[in-house]
């Protein structure tokens, strides 16, 4: 047994291929046999992934979900930003450059609307919870954009570490909410074409959430959503600690 563990720990990434492969297999079986294909297998697999992430965090108290268990460290590498971004870029092979250029304006406008919307609703919620200083409000609003914009903004404005942690938590909840709700809402909100996926990526912005949500909705839409979503965090890091902070500072000096 010890030898087996040793081999797995030494070959973490290879073991991750096996684990994820089995997880997909189980999810496909559940999707087809029990749910009669009403929920796609990929959506179930992503949801199981989230549960495993919770379980991993519960056991270890770490920050990387299941990947904090030494046995499953390869999963963290497989699902880390390098492979994630590499695979997202590869999805562009099936996308049409023509459609992306043509929807460029819609993508850009949806990015601006998305950042403003998430930031200010985040600020309103923080207000409702009793925060009154511009730096904390701005940091939580930025966290409502993504879990990267939050800490970047908080660090720039000198927010307390408690508020920064809260902004990361907010961004994580957003990612998970987008992952789970996208396939459920897709049909009702008209998310069914490359153009609409580009607008969706711009409004929602969390690349992980958009990518996972679209993958569970229709994998063909992933590149269109991802191409706009990847600009969201950068734009958020630009706007939140500057323009938005100045605006909040005028109201809460």
């Amino acid at each position: 047994m010890e030898i087996a563990f040793d081999i797995i720990e030494k070959n973490g990434l290879i073991f991750a291929f096996l684990v994820i492969g089995l997880l997909v297999l189980i999810s496909e079986i559940i999707s087809k046999k029990i749910l009669k294909s009403r929920i796609p297998g990929s959506a179930i697999a992503i949801f199981f992934g989230l549960i495993l992430g919770y379980w991993g965090g519960f056991i270890t108290g770490g920050e990387k979900g299941l990947a904090d268990l030494p046995l499953f460290s390869g999963i963290g590498f497989f699902g880390g930003s390098m492979f994630r971004d590499f695979a997202i870029v590869a999805t562009a092979i099936g996308a049409s450059l023509y459609l992306i250029v043509r929807s460029g304006m819609l993508g850009f406008i949806s990015l601006l609307i998305g950042i403003v919307l998430f930031f200010f609703i985040g600020v309103l919620v923080a207000l409702a919870w009793g925060f009154r200083d511009a730096a904390s409000l701005c940091t939580i609003g930025a966290g409502a954009c993504t879990y990267i914009v939050g800490p970047v903004t908080g660090a720039a404005l000198g927010a307390s570490s408690e508020v920064i942690a809260l902004s990361i938590g907010t961004g994580l909840v957003k990612t998970i909410a987008v992952t789970i709700f996208t396939p459920i809402a897709a049909k009702r909100i008209g998310l069914n074409s490359p153009e609409s996926a580009m607008a969706y990526g711009g409004i929602m912005g969390t690349s992980s959430g958009v990518a996972a949500g679209l993958a569970a909705t229709d994998p063909k839409l992933v590149p269109y959503g991802a191409v706009t979503a990847t600009f969201y965090t950068g734009l958020g890091c630009l706007l939140c600690p500057s323009v938005f902070y100045i605006f909040l500072h005028l109201i809460f000096p």
Partner: protein, 125 residues
């Protein structure tokens, strides 16, 4: 050769990341601005050029397509390594501020689409 395709993908990825970092430092923030987006656009241009000059072989495209297909498994692994526990534990404020705007967006999104009225040619995918 599959590796040619993989190399094209790697080149697009690295150049795109570099452009994202460069743009980030240009506007004075320590973040990558759209590096992945740039990489995707570069890949699409390169593919177009390769196809036009009949340099894109089936195997070469398969090298890129392998990663395209691996996309969902990568996302599943990502979900399993997210800090789900702290998201749930960070309290009602984080849950409200993380969920409410998503729900509002579901309401705004169809309005935005209607305003722009994108030509419906999604079926041509």
């Amino acid at each position: 050769m599959n590796i040619y395709g993989l190399a094209v993908l790697a080149l697009s990825f690295l150049v795109g990341q570099w452009m994202g970092e460069f743009l980030g430092s240009l506007i004075g923030i320590y973040a990558n601005v759209g590096g992945v987006g740039f990489a995707m656009i570069i890949l699409m241009f390169m593919k177009e050029w390769l196809v036009k000059n009949s340099l894109m072989s089936f195997e070469m495209e398969a090298g890129i397509d392998f990663w395209n297909k691996l996309y969902i498994p990568v996302v599943i692994a990502m979900a399993a390594s997210l800090n789900v526990k702290s998201a749930i534990n960070s309290g009602t404020l984080a849950i409200a501020a993380g969920t409410l705007p998503v729900l509002v967006s579901f309401w705004v999104f169809p309005l935005l689409l209607k305003k722009f009225n994108p030509q419906v040619d999604g079926d041509s995918l």
